[in-house]
C-alpha cells in the first residue's frame, strides 16, 4: 500500500451514491432543442462563428475561443441554429447568458473529423492545440480550460501527474460509473496526459475507497502502464484539488500559487477521457456523463448527455415528481447551487442534477446564536477558524477577515454542515469575499478620482491666478496712463515713451508674461519635462499671442501717427516697430491657420484611436471660441456675445473721443480712428450674425436637435453626454438620478428600436445591441433603486 496523508478536518455525510449506481450509463438521446451557453468554462466567453439560420453538423465548431483562457463550443448534434440570444444558464445567481440555440434534426450527422493513430508522433504544441480546439474544460466542476492547465512551463518541471477520481460529494456517481464502465478510456487519456506533461516521478489516480468496483476496473486497465491507482479513506472534501494533492503527496499548494508550483498537475478523470476522444478520434467535447438522482426521481441513474440538453429533458426520463421537490440542485448537496428553472442546459461542468424530496433535504431551519462550540474549526479542511470568521463577517471587519485567511476558504461547506446552530457560514464568507473585492475596487476608483480632482483644482487655480495677474497689470497700466494724462496733458513724446517703458516694465514683472511663458515652455519641452502641448492649448496660446500682437500694433501705429504729426526724430524707429509687429502678427496668423487646418484633419485620424480624446480637444477648442465645427447654437451665442462686447467698446471709444475733443487733446485723430474701426467691426459682426440666423431658420430641425457634426454619431453622443454632465453638475442628486433615469429609458428605447431593426435584417449587431440593452437595464434598475 502506498502511503497517503490525511487532511485536516473533513466530514462524513451520508453518501447516497448507491441509488444512481443501480443501472449502467444510458444515452439520454437528442432533445428537440439544444441550448449552448458561450461561457461554459472559466475565462472569456467563446465568440459565435455561425449565424442564425445556419445548418450545423454534429461536432462542428460553432463558437471559437476568445483569448488564451477560453474554450470553443461545438454543436452536439446536427440541426439549425435558431437563435443566438441570452437564455437562462446554470449559475448560482440564476442569471441569463448568451447562448447558441440549435433545433436538432434528429439525423445526428457528424462533421468530418479524424483522430491520430499514434499520439506520440504529435508534438506537445500540436497535442495541446488539439485539446484546445476540442473545447475541453475541467469536467470535475470548475471548468478551467484544460489546454491552459496543460501548458506547463519548462522552468517548472512536473514531478507528479494526478488524475482526480475522488468524487467526494454525496450523491454524485458520474466519475464512479465512468471508472466502472470506461476504465480503459481513462487510462488511455492518462497516457496522453503523461506523454504531454512528462512527469518525472509518477502518475497517480486518486480514488476514495468507497468505490471498490471503480478502483478494481482502473487497476485492471492500468496493468503494465506504470500508472498507479491510489485508494484512500473516504472523507469529504478529499476531492478538492488542493486536498487531493495533500492526500497523495503530503505537499501543500502554496497560498496564492498553483499546483504546478509544487511540481504537480491535476486533472479530472472525465477530462482525461474527453482528451482521449479528442486526440484519438477527433471528437470535440459535446457530451458528458451526468448523474440524475434524488428521491424526487423514481429512476435515478447516470446519463451520457449532449451538452446543451435542458435539465427538464433528463428529469422527464428519470420519473421526476415535481410535487415532492422544493429544491433542484446542480452539483452535489455540499457545493452545488440551486436551479430556478428546469429549462437550463447541461454544460461541460454539470456532473449532477440532484432532485431531493422535501424530507431528504428539508428547508434550512432558522439559524440560532453561535455557541462557539468550535465544531466548524474541527472540520475545516484548510484549518481556518470558521466561527471567528463568522463574527468578523457579521461585524464587517474586513481586515480581521483577511488576517484569518478568508480567501483561503474553499467553500466546501463542511463548517455549515456540522454547525449545531444551523448558521449558513459559507454564505457569510461568500458575502464577505464579495464585499472585500468590491471595497478594493472602490478604493482604486476613489484614488483615481482623487487624483483627477486634485489635477483639476490645480489647473483651475493656475488659470485663476493667471487671470488675476493680467487683470492687475491692466489696472496698473490704466492708472499709470490716467496719472500721466492728468499730470501733464500736453506732455511730449518723452512722457509717452516713459509711460511705455513703465508699461513694459510692469509687464515684465508680471509672472504671466507671455514671452516668459513661452520661454519656460520651450525650455520645459526641450528638457522633456512636459507632455506635447495639446492642440487646444496651442490654439489658445496662439490666440493670446495674436491678441497681444494686435494690441502692440495698434499702439505702435498710434505712436507713429503722433510722431509724424509732431515731426519728431523717432518717426523712423516707430515705423520700423510697426512693420516688425505687422510681420510678427502675419506670421502668427499663418501659424494659427495652419494649426487649425491640422486640427480639422487630425480629429478624423484620432477619432478611431480615441474618440474621447478628440471630443475633449474639440470641446476645449470650442471654449476658446474658435472651433471649426462648433454647433449652431454655440455660434449664435458667440456672435451675440461678440456684438454686445463690440457695442460696449464702441460706446467707450466714442466717450473717449468726445472727452478728447472737449479738452482739445492731441489724440483726437487717434481716437476718431479707433471709433471708426470699432464701428466697422460691429457692422461686420452684426452682418455675420444676421447671416447665421438666416441660415439657421433655413434648417430649423438640425439646429437644436443635432450638432453640426451629426455625420459622426459617436462624436455627437460624446458631445451630448458632455453637455448632460455639465448640466448635472448644477443639479441636486435626486434631480441627477431622475435625469439619468430618463436618459437611460430613452437610450433603452432607442437601442431596442435598433435591435429590432438589426434582428429584422439578421444583422450580427443584434447580439451586441441585446447585450447593451441588458447593461442599460441594469444601470436603470440600480439608478431607480438609488432614487428609492
Amino acid at each position: 500500500m502506498r502511503k497517503v496523508w490525511d487532511i485536516h478536518g473533513g466530514i462524513h455525510p451520508a453518501e447516497n451514491k448507491q441509488q444512481s449506481l443501480q443501472s449502467p450509463i444510458q444515452a439520454a438521446g437528442i432533445p428537440p432543442q439544444l441550448i449552448l451557453p458561450l461561457a461554459q468554462h472559466i475565462g472569456a466567453p467563446a465568440s459565435p462563428i455561425i449565424s442564425v439560420g445556419d445548418r450545423v453538423l454534429k461536432g462542428q465548431m460553432i463558437a471559437e475561443a476568445k483569448g488564451f483562457v477560453s474554450a470553443p463550443v461545438h454543436a452536439p448534434s446536427s440541426g439549425t441554429v435558431v437563435a443566438i440570444e441570452p437564455r437562462l444558464i446554470p449559475h448560482p445567481s440564476g442569471m441569463s447568458g448568451n447562448c447558441i440555440v440549435i433545433d436538432t434534426d434528429g439525423q445526428d450527422e457528424w462533421v468530418k473529423h479524424s483522430g491520430v493513430e499514434d499520439f506520440r508522433s504529435l508534438s506537445k504544441i500540436d497535442l495541446i492545440d488539439r485539446i484546445r480546439q476540442a473545447g475541453i474544460a475541467g469536467m470535475g466542476g470548475a471548468g478551467f480550460p484544460s489546454a491552459v492547465k496543460l501548458s506547463t512551463r519548462d522552468d517548472k518541471p512536473i514531478e507528479t501527474l494526478i488524475l482526480n477520481g475522488t468524487e467526494c460529494e454525496p450523491y454524485i456517481t458520474a466519475d464512479d460509473i465512468l471508472m466502472r464502465e470506461r476504465a480503459a478510456e481513462i487510462i488511455a487519456g492518462a497516457e496522453i496526459l503523461r506523454h504531454l506533461i512528462r512527469p518525472s516521478k509518477e502518475t497517480l489516480i486518486g480514488v476514495e475507497d468507497n468505490k471498490p468496483e471503480g478502483i478494481a476496473a482502473l487497476q485492471k486497465a492500468a496493468e503494465g502502464t506504470g500508472i498507479e491507482i491510489v485508494p484512500f479513506p473516504t472523507k469529504y472534501p478529499s476531492g478538492g484539488e488542493k486536498q487531493l494533492i495533500q492526500i497523495l503527496t503530503g505537499k501543500e499548494v502554496p497560498a496564492g500559487g498553483l499546483p504546478a508550483d509544487t511540481g504537480i498537475v491535476c486533472q479530472n478523470i472525465g477530462t482525461a477521457t474527453a482528451i482521449y476522444r479528442a486526440v484519438c478520434f477527433g471528437e470535440p467535447l459535446i457530451s458528458r456523463i451526468t448523474t440524475i438522482t434524488g428521491e424526487a426521481c423514481s429512476q435515478p441513474r447516470n446519463y451520457e448527455v449532449l451538452l446543451g440538453t435542458p435539465v427538464q429533458f433528463l428529469l422527464d426520463q428519470s420519473g421526476f415528481n415535481k410535487d415532492n421537490c422544493i429544491r433542484l440542485v446542480m452539483g452535489g448537496p455540499m457545493m452545488g447551487y440551486t436551479l430556478q428553472d428546469t429549462a437550463v442546459p447541461i454544460v461541460k461542468t454539470s456532473n449532477c442534477v440532484l432532485a431531493p424530496s422535501v424530507a431528504e433535504l428539508p428547508p434550512p431551519p432558522p439559524a440560532q446564536a453561535c455557541i462557539r462550540c468550535g465544531m466548524c474549526a474541527e472540520v475545516c479542511p484548510v484549518s481556518l477558524l470558521p466561527q471567528q470568521m463568522y463574527w468578523f463577517s457579521r461585524a464587517q471587519e474586513h481586515e480581521k477577515l483577511e488576517e484569518h485567511k478568508l480567501f483561503d476558504c474553499i467553500e466546501c461547506g463542511a463548517c455549515s454542515y456540522v454547525c449545531p446552530s444551523n448558521i449558513p457560514l459559507v454564505q457569510y464568507y461568500r458575502a464577505s469575499k464579495a464585499e472585500i473585492r468590491q471595497a478594493q475596487q472602490d478604493k482604486i476608483k476613489a484614488e483615481r478620482s482623487k487624483e483627477r480632482f486634485e489635477a483639476r483644482t490645480a489647473r483651475l487655480e493656475q488659470e485663476e491666478a493667471e487671470k488675476e495677474a493680467k487683470r492687475a497689470a491692466r489696472l496698473k497700466a490704466a492708472k499709470d496712463k490716467a496719472a500721466a494724462a492728468a499730470s501733464n496733458p500736453d506732455s511730449g513724446k518723452a512722457d509717452l515713451i516713459q509711460a511705455a517703458i513703465e508699461r513694459s516694465k510692469a509687464k515684465k514683472a508680471d509672472a504671466a508674461d507671455p514671452a516668459h511663458d513661452a520661454i519656460a515652455r520651450a525650455q520645459a519641452k526641450r528638457e522633456g519635462k512636459v507632455e506635447e502641448e495639446s492642440p487646444a492649448a496651442k490654439t489658445e496660446r496662439l490666440q493670446l499671442l495674436i491678441a497681444s500682437a494686435e494690441r502692440r500694433l495698434t499702439s505702435a501705429r498710434e505712436k507713429l501717427a503722433l510722431a509724424k504729426e509732431q515731426g519728431g526724430e523717432n518717426v523712423e524707429a516707430f515705423a520700423t516697430a510697426v512693420i516688425k509687429t505687422e510681420d510678427k502678427l502675419t506670421a502668427l496668423q499663418k501659424e494659427i491657420a495652419e494649426h487649425q487646418a491640422s486640427l480639422t484633419t487630425a480629429p478624423s485620424k484620432n477619432e478611431e484611436a480615441d474618440p474621447a480624446q478628440a471630443a475633449i480637444a474639440r470641446a476645449m477648442a470650442k471654449r476658446a471660441g474658435n472651433s471649426t465645427d462648433e454647433s449652431d447654437e454655440d455660434k449664435t451665442q458667440r456672435l451675440q456675445n461678440l456684438v454686445a462686447t463690440t457695442e460696449k467698446r464702441l460706446a467707450a471709444a466714442q466717450q473717449k473721443l468726445s472727452m478728447a475733443q472737449e479738452q482739445n487733446d492731441a489724440n483726437v485723430p487717434a481716437f476718431a480712428t479707433g471709433v471708426e474701426k470699432t464701428q466697422n467691426k460691429l457692422d461686420a459682426v452684426k452682418r455675420e450674425l444676421a447671416e447665421h440666423l438666416a441660415a439657421l431658420s433655413a434648417k430649423p430641425s438640425s439646429a437644436s436637435e443635432a450638432p453640426a457634426n451629426s455625420d459622426d454619431p459617436v462624436q455627437a453622443a460624446i458631445e451630448r453626454a458632455k453637455a448632460a454632465r455639465s448640466a448635472q453638475a448644477n443639479m441636486s442628486d435626486e434631480d441627477k438620478l431622475k435625469q439619468s433615469i430618463a436618459s437611460l429609458e430613452n437610450r433603452i428605447a432607442r437601442t431596442q428600436e435598433k435591435l429590432q431593426a438589426a434582428q429584422a435584417s439578421g444583422d450580427d449587431k443584434a447580439e451586441i445591441l441585446a447585450d447593451s440593452i441588458a447593461k442599460l437595464e441594469d444601470k436603470l434598475a440600480s439608478a431607480k433603486q438609488q432614487l428609492g
Binding site: E252, G336, P366, S421, V426
Partner: protein, 346 residues
C-alpha cells in the same frame, strides 16, 4: 415553477444546539447521582429549583428583549446553567440563594450581554463566585458524607424543607468541613495522620467526593467520545494540576499541598474540567488555544487552593481565564493550508 433559492451546502449534519445541550445535561447524571448517594437529596433539590428559576428568568428576559421565547428556551442553554450551578452549590442550599444565583447568572451574565453565545463569562461560575463572596456562610455549609456521621442522610422531604427555610437550624447537625478545607487548615499533621484522624477522607480523596468526581469524569469522557468538545482543554487542565501537586507534594509533610490524586478527585475538579472549562462560549477557540487555556486554569486552581484564601478555586480560575480567552485566541490562530506561518501574516 418556484424552486427554493438557497446557497450550499444543502445537506446538514444531525447535530443541533439543543441536542448538544441535552447531551451535556445527560452527562452530568453520573456525578449528580454520586453526590446524591453520598450527600443526600440536597443536590437534586438544588438542581430542580435552579432549573425552574433559571427558565423563568430566561423567559422573562426574552420577553423584555422581545425575542421568541419558545425558540430560545428550546436550546436548553438555561437548563445547563441551572444544572451546573445547582450541582456546585452546597446541597439543600436556601431557595433564595439559588434564586439569586440563577437570576444573576441568567439575567446579568447572559442576557444583558445579548443572550446565548454572547456572554464573555460562564454564567454558572460567575453566579457561584458572586454568591461565594456575598454569602460565605451559606456557601460553605457542606453536608457530611455518608458514613462519616451517625445520623441519616438528607431525604427528599427534608431537603425540600431545608431548602425553603423550614427547620433549617437542624442542618448544622449534618454539616462538616470539606476535605479541601481540612487540608487547608492543617499545619501540624502529616498527610497520613490527617487522613486517619478526619472522618471526611476516603480512599484517594474526600469520602464521596472521589466518587462524585469519578462520575463527572465518566460523563466528560462520554462527551469527548460524542465529539461535543475536544480533549485539549480538560486534559491540559488536569495535567497541569497533577504536575503542580506532584511538585509540591513534599513527601506528605505537614506543609504538603496534597497528593495528585487528592487534587484530581476533590472539590469541583472533574466538574470543572469537563463541564466548565469546556464551555465553548467562554473558552478559547483553537485547539492550541484550548491547551493553553486549560493549562492556565489548572495552574490557577492549584495556586488558589494551596496558597490562596479559598479552599476551592475552579470558579475563580475559570472566570480569570475567561478574561484571557480572547487574547489567547489572538495568538493561537492555526496555520492555514498553503501558508508557512501561523496566525496573521504581516
Amino acid at each position: 415553477m418556484g424552486f427554493l433559492k438557497v446557497s450550499s451546502p444543502h445537506a446538514h449534519g444531525p447535530m443541533s444546539t439543543a441536542s448538544v445541550m441535552r447531551l451535556v445535561l445527560l452527562a452530568t447524571l453520573p456525578g449528580m447521582l454520586a453526590l446524591t448517594w453520598f450527600f443526600g437529596f440536597g443536590t437534586i433539590i438544588n438542581v430542580l429549583w435552579a432549573s425552574v428559576t433559571a427558565l423563568a428568568f430566561e423567559a422573562m428576559a426574552l420577553r423584555w428583549r422581545k425575542r421568541p421565547i419558545g425558540f430560545y428556551l428550546n436550546d436548553y442553554s438555561a437548563l445547563v446553567t441551572a444544572f451546573l450551578l445547582g450541582i456546585a452549590l452546597p446541597p439543600a442550599a436556601p431557595f433564595w440563594l439559588i434564586m439569586i444565583g440563577t437570576g444573576f447568572g441568567i439575567l446579568i451574565c447572559k442576557q444583558l450581554y445579548g443572550g446565548m453565545g454572547y456572554n464573555p463569562f460562564n454564567p454558572a461560575m460567575a453566579a457561584y463566585v458572586m454568591l461565594l463572596i456575598s454569602f460565605p456562610v451559606e456557601m460553605t455549609t457542606w453536608m457530611a458524607p455518608k458514613g462519616s456521621f451517625a445520623g441519616d442522610l438528607l431525604g427528599p422531604i427534608d431537603a425540600l424543607r431545608y431548602c425553603f427555610g423550614f427547620g433549617r437550624e437542624a442542618i448544622d447537625a449534618i454539616t462538616m468541613a470539606t476535605p479541601l478545607d481540612v487540608l487547608k487548615q492543617n499545619n501540624a499533621l502529616l498527610i497520613d495522620d490527617l487522613w486517619s484522624q478526619s472522618p471526611q477522607f476516603g480512599q484517594l480523596a474526600g469520602k464521596g467526593w472521589e466518587w462524585a468526581n469519578a462520575g463527572f469524569l465518566l460523563g466528560g469522557a462520554y462527551l469527548i467520545y460524542r465529539r461535543i468538545f475536544t480533549w485539549h482543554a480538560p486534559l491540559s487542565m488536569l495535567a497541569v494540576l497533577t504536575l503542580m501537586s506532584l511538585l509540591f507534594y513534599d513527601g506528605g509533610s505537614s506543609a504538603s499541598g496534597g497528593s495528585p490524586f487528592f487534587h484530581l478527585f476533590s472539590g469541583a475538579t472533574m466538574l470543572g474540567a469537563f463541564f466548565i472549562v469546556t464551555d465553548p462560549v467562554t473558552s478559547a477557540v483553537s485547539n492550541r488555544g484550548r491547551l493553553i487555556y486549560g493549562a492556565l486554569i489548572g495552574l490557577l486552581i492549584y495556586i488558589i487552593r494551596v496558597w490562596g484564601n479559598y479552599p476551592d478555586a475552579v470558579a475563580f480560575s475559570v472566570l480569570l481565564m475567561n478574561f484571557a480567552a480572547p487574547f489567547i485566541d489572538h495568538f493561537t490562530q492555526p496555520r492555514t493550508y498553503g501558508h508557512k506561518t501561523k496566525g496573521a501574516e504581516k
